[in-house]
């Protein structure tokens, strides 16, 4: 299943490069550029920015799409399209929070939570967009060094909550977190999410779902050539509560007694309004 998917993606990637070459016309006999440029040339660097720096979460918030775009300075791409010569990987990461992971097992015929591990810091949101699947871009060591990829998210058990678990059990808990976060659309993989426009420009659209946790998001942009990071850039987006949403949330958490009294008053008032309104109607 997984191999088939990979093969499919590869085919798609090949088709894309092929079509790109067709558009350019000249020599199709040159496959992928492997020539390393002479050392005298200035080193390439990446510049990036995000379409939205601040995002307001209001009662009407249903998610938002941000665009991460950038350019490669001193691009040495031999042709008009940088695809294939350079690879760009964009990682958007939310504020890390401690997370409790619980596992159910059968006890006397009932499925109940029996074991749990608390991970110290798990990114609340994690999206990777790349110009092609990250496994093709670089080796696992490089990816791990830069914490790129869902399986390179650092999750360490807090305190002694991880004590007594074997390595494969810990791995199962970690896999559980990744799977659940993926289901909630909070962990996203876009293996072809970065597209090049010409020699040095690239862009990527990243969808933030409605349930994205509020807080700062960090967007890291990596420029790869021949499986190595040649340059990186860090940008930020801040999600903050605004409007009624902010008011209600702050009230509930800071002045929780007043909030509770207001909730009671609203309920009582609604009940009384309903009873007078409908009595008049039916009487």
């Amino acid at each position: 299943m997984r191999r088939e998917l990979l093969a499919c993606l590869l085919a798609a990637a090949l088709a894309m490069t092929a079509s790109a070459q067709e558009h350019e016309g000249p020599p199709p006999d040159v496959p992928a550029p492997t020539v390393v440029p002479p050392p005298s040339q200035p080193k390439e660097t990446v510049e990036a920015d995000i379409s939205t720096r601040e995002l307001a979460v209001t009662t009407g918030f249903t998610g938002h799409e941000i665009v991460v775009f950038g350019a490669i300075d001193n691009s040495q791409a031999p042709k008009e399209d940088a695809t294939g010569y350079y690879d760009v990987v964009i990682v958007v990461e939310g504020t890390p929070f401690p997370v409790v992971v619980r596992r159910k097992s059968e006890v006397a015929g009932l499925w109940i939570n029996t074991s749990s591990i608390t991970f110290k810091s798990v990114p609340s949101y994690y999206a990777i967009a790349s110009s092609r699947p990250i496994e093709e871009i670089a080796g696992p060591l490089v990816l791990e060094r830069h914490a790129i990829g869902l399986h390179h998210i650092k999750m360490t058990p807090a305190g002694n909550t991880g004590a007594g678990y074997k390595d494969y059990e810990l791995a199962a808990f970690k896999a559980g977190v990744i799977r659940l976060k993926k289901q909630e659309n909070l962990y996203v993989l876009e293996p072809h999410g970065v597209t090049f426009a010409g020699r040095s420009l690239f862009r990527s659209t990243i969808a933030l779902p409605a349930n994205v946790p509020v807080g700062p998001l960090v967007a890291r942009t990596y420029l790869f050539r021949n499986g190595e990071v040649v340059s990186a850039h860090i940008g930020r987006v801040t999600l903050h509560r605004a409007g009624i949403e902010r008011l209600v949330h702050n009230f509930a958490f800071v002045y929780s007694t007043t909030y509770g009294i207001i909730a009671v008053l609203i309920a009582v008032l609604c009940g009384m309004i309903a009873s007078t309104f409908f009595r008049r109607k039916t009487a």
Binding site: T161, L180, C270
Partner: protein, 326 residues
């Protein structure tokens, strides 16, 4: 009960135009869908003359609302729907205020215990299990009793037999307890302990399950305390209003589990649905209604029980770290 990820996905797939972001549940929901849910539950509560908390809370959990928020916000909705009923009963002089006060005193204590227990259970990750087990136990017991009673009544009516006459005026163990009080409106001279205990139990259930508890309080008052039937409904509504107000406040303070935006959606839907339900209920016989209600109660019970018994497709669950708990 497992939070429905599918439910959340389904909601987000619908037209985003009618969505509203719930500030405490921290999710975006469809306004029409939740208004509809509120009015459906309101219709049933109007039809059967019940609070409907036992339907609403599980429904909210199935829709992906966190269990704690479903329970906390449920108490706000029950408060709103009980207020009008309580006022009407009070005007008709169907409330034994003294008995009600004893029930409320017990209820508030039960609610405090329940809310604190809920906090501990959330920390150790067993809150969802506890809620499910409470639902299965109470709904199973009450549903089965109601089913037996209503089938018996229907059968007796078919064969033309008279209902067995209940012996009244008999003294039970209730009458041997100390702290006797005179409840004028109910024409009773009994110990204050049993009503306080019933009140406390109902308050505890209210906090843990997000229900009003009328389905436990009404039979307990009739059969254990021998309160006249005409007084029972009004007095239990009186208790529900005050205990639910206290529970809503405690849930907001202790568990930050009351979402006013969600609460308003459910209240508005519920009020509308209840009017139609009451009109429809007037056309049906009492025992028919009780039979249908019993079937509904047992269905909810089986649905929750099923989720506990069948191996879940996802064994893992994730949640935030609450308080200082491990």
């Amino acid at each position: 009960m497992r939070p429905g990820v599918e439910g959340r996905a389904r909601v987000s797939a619908q037209a985003k135009l009618m969505n509203i972001y719930l500030p405490i549940a921290e999710m975006s929901v469809n306004v029409v869908l939740f208004l509809g849910m509120g009015s459906a539950v309101g219709f049933l509560s109007g039809l059967f003359g019940i609070g409907g908390g036992f339907l609403l809370t599980p429904l909210l959990i199935f829709m992906g609302v966190p269990t704690a928020v479903a329970v906390g916000t449920g108490s706000m909705q029950i408060l709103a729907s009980s207020v009008s009923g309580a006022i009407a009963q009070y005007r008709r002089n169907n409330v034994d205020v003294k008995m009600g006060a004893v029930l409320v005193a017990g209820g508030v204590i039960g609610s405090v215990v329940g809310v604190s227990l809920m906090k501990i259970l959330r920390q150790i990750g067993q809150f969802e299990l506890f809620v499910s087990l409470s639902y299965v136990t109470f709904l199973g017991a009450v549903g089965a009793l109601m089913l037996i009673e209503s089938i018996g009544t229907i059968q007796r009516q078919r064969t033309g037999q008279a209902a067995p006459v209940r012996k009244t005026g008999q003294h039970s163990w209730v009458h041997g307890l100390p702290l006797k009080m005179r409840f004028h409106r109910s024409k009773l001279y009994i110990s204050a302990l049993p009503p306080a205990m019933i009140g406390a139990f109902v308050g505890f259930m209210a906090a843990i399950m997000g229900v009003g508890g009328g389905f436990v309080m009404v039979p307990a008052m009739i059969y254990l305390l021998r309160v006249p039937t005409s007084i029972v409904i009004g007095t239990s509504l009186f208790q529900i209003v005050f205990v639910m107000a206290a529970t809503t406040l405690l849930q907001a303070m202790e568990n930050k589990a009351v979402d006013v935006v969600l609460g308003l959606l459910l209240i508005v839907g519920g009020v509308i649905g209840a009017q139609f339900g009451a009109a429809a209920g007037a056309r049906l016989k009492g025992e028919q209604l009780r039979f249908m209600l019993a079937a509904l109660v047992l269905l909810v019970c089986l649905r929750i029980g099923w989720d506990l018994m069948v191996k879940p497709t996802e064994l893992f669950s994730i949640g935030p770290v609450i308080g200082g708990g491990a």
